[in-house]
Symmetry: C2
Subunit: 508 residues, 2 copies
Amino acid sequence: MGDINNNSAFDYENLFHNNILPHGKIGITEDFLHRFTDLIFKHLVKANDRKEKVIDFTHPHKLEADFNENFQIEKDPLSLEKLMVDCQRVMDLSVKTAHPRMFNQLFSGCDLVSMVAAWVTAGCNSSMYTHEMAPAFNLIENLTLQKMGKMCGWDEECDGLFNPGGSISNLYAVQTALHYHFPQTKDNGLFGMPRLVMFISAHSHYSMSRAAAILGMGTESLKKVPVDSQGKFIPEKLEEMVLEAKQKGEVPFFVCCTAGTTVLGAYDPIEPTLEICKKYNMWCHIDAAWGGACLLSEKHKGLMKGVERADSVTWNPHKLMGALIQCSAFLVKRKGILASCNKMNASYLFQKDKMYDIKYDTGDKTIQCGRNIDAFKCWLMWRAKGDSGIEAQIDQLWHCAALLYSECKRRDAFEMVMENPECTNVCFWYVPPSLQHLDRKSPEFMEKINAVAPKIKERMMLKGSMMIGYQPLDDKPNFFRMVFANQATKDEDVYFLCDEIERLGQDL
Amino acid sequence: MGDINNNSAFDYENLFHNNILPHGKIGITEDFLHRFTDLIFKHLVKANDRKEKVIDFTHPHKLEADFNENFQIEKDPLSLEKLMVDCQRVMDLSVKTAHPRMFNQLFSGCDLVSMVAAWVTAGCNSSMYTHEMAPAFNLIENLTLQKMGKMCGWDEECDGLFNPGGSISNLYAVQTALHYHFPQTKDNGLFGMPRLVMFISAHSHYSMSRAAAILGMGTESLKKVPVDSQGKFIPEKLEEMVLEAKQKGEVPFFVCCTAGTTVLGAYDPIEPTLEICKKYNMWCHIDAAWGGACLLSEKHKGLMKGVERADSVTWNPHKLMGALIQCSAFLVKRKGILASCNKMNASYLFQKDKMYDIKYDTGDKTIQCGRNIDAFKCWLMWRAKGDSGIEAQIDQLWHCAALLYSECKRRDAFEMVMENPECTNVCFWYVPPSLQHLDRKSPEFMEKINAVAPKIKERMMLKGSMMIGYQPLDDKPNFFRMVFANQATKDEDVYFLCDEIERLGQDL
């Protein structure tokens, strides 16, 4: 293990936690922190190297047996050297999310400015609830939220929070709408209420179902509006379904337009939806967790036309904008509604006789108590790049998607699941030579093509050359969902991806 | 600003985000990371220095005006130098939570092993949902949860999750109990159900009220059991209230014992509560977010006798154990119940035809989708110290509390709110000389003593010498709540705290 510490004057095999601050020496502490920085730096250099594997895959049961033997928490302390070895091992086993060919999720890359922001917040080890405990971070959160509100075209100051993920932001959306329409439910609950119903795209994120279940309405309160061939929900169907629900005595109160669906990247039509919401007195939420960053691009912001009149928006800077996970904003137009919805008057935390203006305390607005400092990761990165830098990055991601789309059209073995995608999602089947002759609608083809993506995925995982997601959708068998979210990805990676799929799948 | 970069060969004033990875040079990246490490290291050295201020307080409206002018996100990129200056400023403004005299919250200190673990997870920039994306971290989470389950005396493998804070863990507790007793509500909701009710201590954390509101039951579903002079709820009262509810046609299903209440640090009686829960078929949850770490101490684990028979436990390693914020575990005995409760079958994320055993994917168990890697901060720290190191740390915190208690008893100007505290909370009034002659029960005394703690708090904030919380409770006027959670705190800090309160308050 000399390799890990070849720069160090200290014998970490014989140093322990009490040799660093708060009990140990400053000099050792300084060196210890820099040794960890080296470990992480080397991991990042590897991750940015196209010759390196994206993942070094081990089957979980094998890894579990190994961890059970070697990674248990023990009775006695371990040396600082051992901690470094552990962390090196953990990093080696982890997916290199910064790798330009990591396409598996709706996030990718490791923005280093955002990363050092996360290091700073770790070093400050604080929580967002009060100005007293996080003066700078609370103000920075508000600056960032207001900036995002402005990008939505909202004129007035908005309300909002950074939350642990888009699912929680969507939960806030439904909860806030419920509170706006039925404030008495905060105290009385839903017992004795008529069935409340909400409307979402059939392709919306599953967090909306979870929100319905968590909030006590149940998944049956969720009505899924059918989508057209471009994956967008059909406003006329929405209105029909609202009327149908009303006839049954149900009470519609909430509609969610997805701005960038998870699989196809579709943007639901916001403007006609707003009209329907106005007509039937329903809350209009935009789930732009994935696609919201188009608002930063002059070229692409038209995709969300109408957002300026929506009631609330979910938008995750950790997705297309590239901030470190987790970084999800919930924005809501009505100032004060979050506190009204969540305030519980905890006198030990939010004293009314504080020495400062307590409107700056944010804890009463949340469903949490302590809250991670997530806004800072977005703010520092955005400051580093400026609007112009983020715009260039967003346009580059859309460019990669357009390039992949034309490349898929050019190659015989690739078939599109959907023509002319709007976001950076490009969905396609790879049809191996052995299946080319089959009728595309035949049961034999459907069955065989369904097995192709999982097999190619397995091969790419074992080889480590790249990572792409696949899934079925509606009546469509398994297909690849390519998404571009990594600022390190270049044209050469798009060509590589097509070539690599052909290499991995041609014998299937 | 030469000061920030006096070790560097690079001219950061003329370097920007695209000069570091993924677009820039490796050498600059390496140096950039080490410069940030230096900034954070220096912040930590300051924070560990008793001569430094705990906080450099600025009123929020002043800071807001300053930030509005200087901290806006701009159109153009900022230099890497400017980012360092920004971060330096933010750290200077932040509470030094690592300071041995930061007593304001139920967390304190900055464990450096836990901190580098957070740096590593930032460098890996991943999310917990699948084995595919976080192989090592998912297994490590499970190892840590099982270790905590064992400390609870649970023989079998348990289920559980690390969550963004104790409030969310408590939300899981109520949600899981609800699902266990009324699984149909996941789909049907609470419409048409009789009123479900839950029982908690009158001194329980406000997250239980929030949970009732969020889950659609409303705060009226929450029945607060009165406490005795030691702040523990009274089991006989609990049983009376259960019977009363049943007579009204309400349906009791959940009881929460708090193990370490927020203000007084009381441990509710678990064993008699278990009997009542068994008798009336109610779920027994232990909210040990604050006090759970007593389980690691041979001396103090008796405080939670009976936990081995509870249904679920909330336990935050970021509190008494000292892991970095946020680090909160929800443990539940019934294996599989979390997935049953939260599964939504998202085919794009949790494919059934994956190449590996999908029981290792954790995403279907949560109310989130992406989830921060919190367990690692606990695991690495615990490995570093071993059970024995954590035990010594816990015993030291209890020792400080005992010392403060005896010091308060010894000094004339200090009056206890509660005798013989069980946890590390020590609650007291400081009675300035001018109020010593007043009758303790007189309205004049009550009014005047109520103003003392806020005034002393203001003075200590402006001086920056320490931070302690205060609050009223029931009919008791504002008092100080001292809590020990910081491994850096020593006997000398206990004496300092008493002396400092006397210095700050003697003229009031």
